[in-house]
Symmetry: C2
Subunit: 341 residues, 2 copies
């Protein structure tokens, strides 16, 4: 029996609803306790569900939405002009508690604005943050936030991001006392800007948190911290730079291998060993950024996610919902704010 309901925005992403239906099929087997509401244009979705033999599946229902938010819609415009978009309807299902979480691969800016507007932030949280998993050298995982929900942050926001990330690492990664670090230009106290320095002060005063200080860009994959805190501008640029470099480097290796018949041949012996070198990056497995700090679980999938990628985003939504992350965040933020009074 379904004990949990998730809303899937089926119309977002670069590859259209077939990716979402493929991921759904996989999720139904993995999560027999979850009910899925597929949200989007029924004329498009009904044939896809029928094709996947999911029309009368007991864990699946279809919720029509007449509009679609495009990748180029501005957030304010989509909020005003598209009240019946699949994204908005999926978020409304969470706001009205008909669903516990929403997953969308749509326009990030529009999703953040709509989520903030419909779900509101938790008490004590000024701004939600976009948080993602970051693969670590030894195969572990860290959380990094913010990745672009907040281009400018004050020190209070950075502090709240640290608390939220810490709760997520406890609940989702099962880390006992998550190490929280601030991303900075250097490890010394005098480095950085005033906002980061003021945030460091706030962390130092919060005895409940395991704050370990500043870390630099070259440390973010080295398992030095479980939670890495930065403003959305820095986080977005740093992570995208790394994505760009990794893609290029792996692409180069593949291209160089294929240039010669001997290496093309050898690669068949060699491939799995080589593959392992970048497997830990697993972009598919790490897909799914959480919009944390809201009164509900909202997961943003990469726009160009594969079926496997969208499935990872669903997994993330299930994990956060099962742990009731919003309630946990609310509780810990309250405790810390009370302790500071």
């Amino acid at each position: 029996m379904a004990t949990l309901t998730l809303a899937l925005d089926a119309m977002g992403g670069d590859h259209g609803p077939s990716i979402v239906i493929g991921a759904l099929k996989r999720a139904l087997k993995t999560f027999p306790e979850v009910h899925f509401i597929v949200v989007g244009d029924q004329a498009e979705l009904k044939p896809l569900l029928a094709q996947a033999k999911l029309t009368d599946h007991p864990q699946v229902s279809l919720q029509h939405a007449s509009q679609v938010v495009t990748m180029t819609d501005k957030p304010g415009y989509s909020l005003r002009a598209k009240p019946d978009s699949s994204m908005r309807v999926a978020l409304d299902l969470v706001a009205s508690e008909q669903a516990a979480a929403c997953v969308s691969a749509g326009n990030t800016g529009a999703l953040m604005t709509k989520a903030y507007f419909t779900l509101k932030t938790l008490p004590g949280v000024a701004r939600p943050a976009l948080m993602s998993s970051l693969p670590q050298r030894d195969g572990g995982t860290a959380f990094i936030l913010d990745l672009g929900a907040n281009p400018v942050c004050d020190s209070d926001s950075l502090f709240q991001f640290g608390v939220m990330g810490s709760v997520a690492a406890q609940q989702v990664l099962a880390v006992d006392k998550p190490r929280i670090a601030l991303l900075n230009m250097g490890e010394e106290d005098i480095k950085g800007n005033d906002v980061v320095k003021a945030a460091a002060n706030l962390f130092q005063q919060a005895a409940e948190l395991n704050y370990i200080g500043f870390i630099e860009g070259n440390d973010i994959f080295l398992n030095k911290a479980d939670v890495i805190v930065c403003d959305g501008f820095v986080g977005n640029v740093a992570l995208k730079s790394c994505e760009g470099l990794a893609e290029l480097l792996v692409g180069n290796i593949k291209a160089n291998i294929e240039q010669h018949w001997l290496t093309r041949f050898l690669v068949k012996l060699f491939y799995r060993r080589l593959q392992r070198s970048w497997d830990w990056l697993k972009p598919d497995h790490y897909n799914g950024a959480s919009l944390i700090g809201l009164r509900g679980v909202v997961i943003k999938s990469h726009g160009n996610a594969t079926e496997r990628g969208f499935f990872s985003a669903i997994e993330q939504a299930v994990a956060e919902t099962q742990q009731d992350l919003p309630a946990q965040v609310r509780e810990q933020i309250e405790q810390i704010l009370l302790a500071q009074e």
Copy 2:
């Protein structure tokens, strides 16, 4: 006959003066027109110069300095307490026009502070910026600035960085109309923070410049721009993150190869092809960040640079000096400021 004089701070860097002397030996052959003043503790340097058979070399002179700036000295402290440090004496040689440029692998913060104090900025330049070469997918080079001299920037500074980078790309990279881009969270006009948006406005009004708009982190290696402009916090974190990832990825590949006798064996056939995949990153060849915007050429070498790396920093100093980059920057900044009046 020497037509150009360079001052080398021999005491900076993690590996001590022997690296600098090794790089000097190489530079003497490559640049017969350059005279080098080696600055540092003569008790330590004399034996090294003798060992390298450079004691009476016509292109080399030794300038004693009794103090050394350590990697942990705070900038303000080193400025006040170490007036006879090798770094300071090397910069003073530039300020007094006895040398045209200075190269140091010492403490970045101290170098920036001392350089700003002794050399001052060019007219029309509010703040110097740390600028580095960035390898591009196709083997080309772009300049990125700032990388940490300015943790907080206003839009005027970002605009000046663009002008300075453009002059450097023209003079040093021989690019005709360098494409200038602002690093941002998205390509759309509405993305980013107010400083970046205001800087975009300034660039759009400067018809002399080839401003191409915003680029994202994943574009910085894709030869989309010749000059990439950002504040020092963002640039520092993004570049260090990429360095960390590249090191880890290449290290992983090597480790996976060495785990098995067959791949260890095959790698001998395979190595050069594989090597080529990350050769374009060439950290050694790209060593040498310019502190641009000052009344003199100052090049910062990586603290852990090899002999080859420090030589690249010397090359960068020679190139910028031969083109008289400070004079060129001064001229173009003046032209643009006049055009705006």
